[in-house]
């Protein structure tokens, strides 16, 4: 939010320029991953852009490993030279180029330059590492405290009810008393990971990891593989040879059920991605409205609306983590369900 503020203030000083398109561009930029961690930027008296933030390493595979700092790109304003090869940023993606930084576009405005394989520690990757580290430190410290006494202290006081809720209201009813323990580590990890990372997305840091579809794809794939590889005979029986229906129906049902196993993680992926993306776009647009109205009624109204929406987004952050965990537990439950005689 602060970044939007500073940006829009900058726009006001310049006076000219179409604020609406600038805001649209800003939102699009916010939704993308980037190669540096910049909090805000401003134009100083001399008319040059100053960025507050820090660069992140760029790791490329292009006839050998190339590692350099993203500060060489100067926020996409210049060409980075590494061992005689030139790279440039185009829409936050790294392309190979010449010393002048030429980008050849085809008819659809897609660059035809060579794109090296990019393993960079981008803003999203950096945030994922940060959250992983944070969770590791937080939970290992909490676990240590339980060894000295069973009464939770510190963070444990706040988080113990949540962990118990996941165990008693998500894992046990969906997976079953006997098998739930195997899945608890994953369910807890995925819940807290999505929750923390969604909450970080609402801070002025400007990170938003879960609106990258690759991240949610990875999360959904883990659920898919866990379901597939821990499934028992009964689960596969229900997919390929549905018991209790006539034989022609069994043949029709098998491909549908098989497709269903893929649609389930697919919907997990889309749900998380679309919810967070939609939330961010709406929130940023309403913050942007403040600077379009430029009068005290409209601006304060949209400020109030932005505040209310931020509160709603806080709820959505937790709700999406809950739903992802809940549905994962449901799928695991269906994979390990024992045979019942009553159907």
């Amino acid at each position: 939010m602060i970044t939007t503020f500073s940006f829009a203030k900058e726009e006001k000083h310049e006076g000219e320029g179409d604020i609406k398109t600038e805001i649209k561009e800003y939102i699009n930029h916010h939704l993308l991953d980037s190669h540096d961690f910049s909090l805000t930027s401003y134009t100083n008296g001399a008319g040059e852009h100053k960025y507050i933030g820090f660069p992140l390493p760029v790791i490329l595979w292009d006839n050998g490993l190339k590692i350099f700092s993203s500060s060489k790109f100067h926020h996409g304003e210049s060409v980075a030279e590494v061992n005689g090869e030139y790279y440039t940023l185009f829409h936050n993606k790294v392309y190979k180029t010449d010393a002048a930084g030429t980008i050849n576009l085809d008819d659809d405005h897609h660059p035809t330059n060579i794109k090296p394989i990019d393993f960079s520690i981008t803003k999203n990757v950096f945030t994922i590492f940060l959250v992983g580290l944070l969770m590791f430190v937080m939970f290992s410290r909490m676990a240590k405290k339980y060894k000295t006494g069973s009464i939770p202290r510190g963070m444990g006081r706040f988080l113990e009810p949540i962990i118990l809720y996941i165990r008693d209201d998500i894992a046990v009813p969906n997976i079953g008393e006997k098998k739930y323990k195997r899945y608890m580590p994953y369910l807890l990890t995925v819940f807290f990971f999505i929750w923390i990372i969604n909450l970080l997305g609402l801070t002025p840091l400007g990170v938003n990891v879960t609106n990258n579809i690759a991240v949610t794809l990875a999360l959904a794939l883990i659920t898919y593989f866990l379901t597939t590889f821990t499934a028992n005979k009964n689960y596969w029986g229900h997919i390929f040879w549905m018991p209790g229906v006539p034989t022609p129906m069994k043949i029709i049902l098998a491909p549908i059920e098989l497709l269903g196993t893929i649609i389930k993680p697919f919907s997990l992926m889309i749900r998380l991605y679309a919810n967070i993306t939609a939330g961010h776009i709406v929130l940023m647009s309403i913050i942007g409205l403040m600077f379009i109205f430029k009068n005290w009624i409209g601006s304060s109204l949209s400020f109030g609306l932005a505040f209310a929406l931020s509160l709603l987004e806080l709820l959505v952050a937790a709700l999406q983590a809950y739903i992802f965990t809940m549905l994962s537990a449901l799928y695991f439950g269906s994979a390990v369900e024992e045979h019942h005689e009553d159907h």
Partner: protein, 63 residues
Amino acid sequence: MTIPNIVGAGLIVIGAGLGIGKIGGSAMDAIARQPEASGKIQTAMLIAAALIEGIGFAALFAA
């Protein structure tokens, strides 16, 4: 975005809104009848709403 896309997106939102609204309303009725089962009803409600939402988003992407 072309006009059919926008109309399609609007139809999807109407459909998903009606669906989730129906689930919410039914859950309210159920909770009013049996307040002691509100926890279970809420869970079932959220799952059903999430499933509809998932399909709605998938359709929005297609539109």
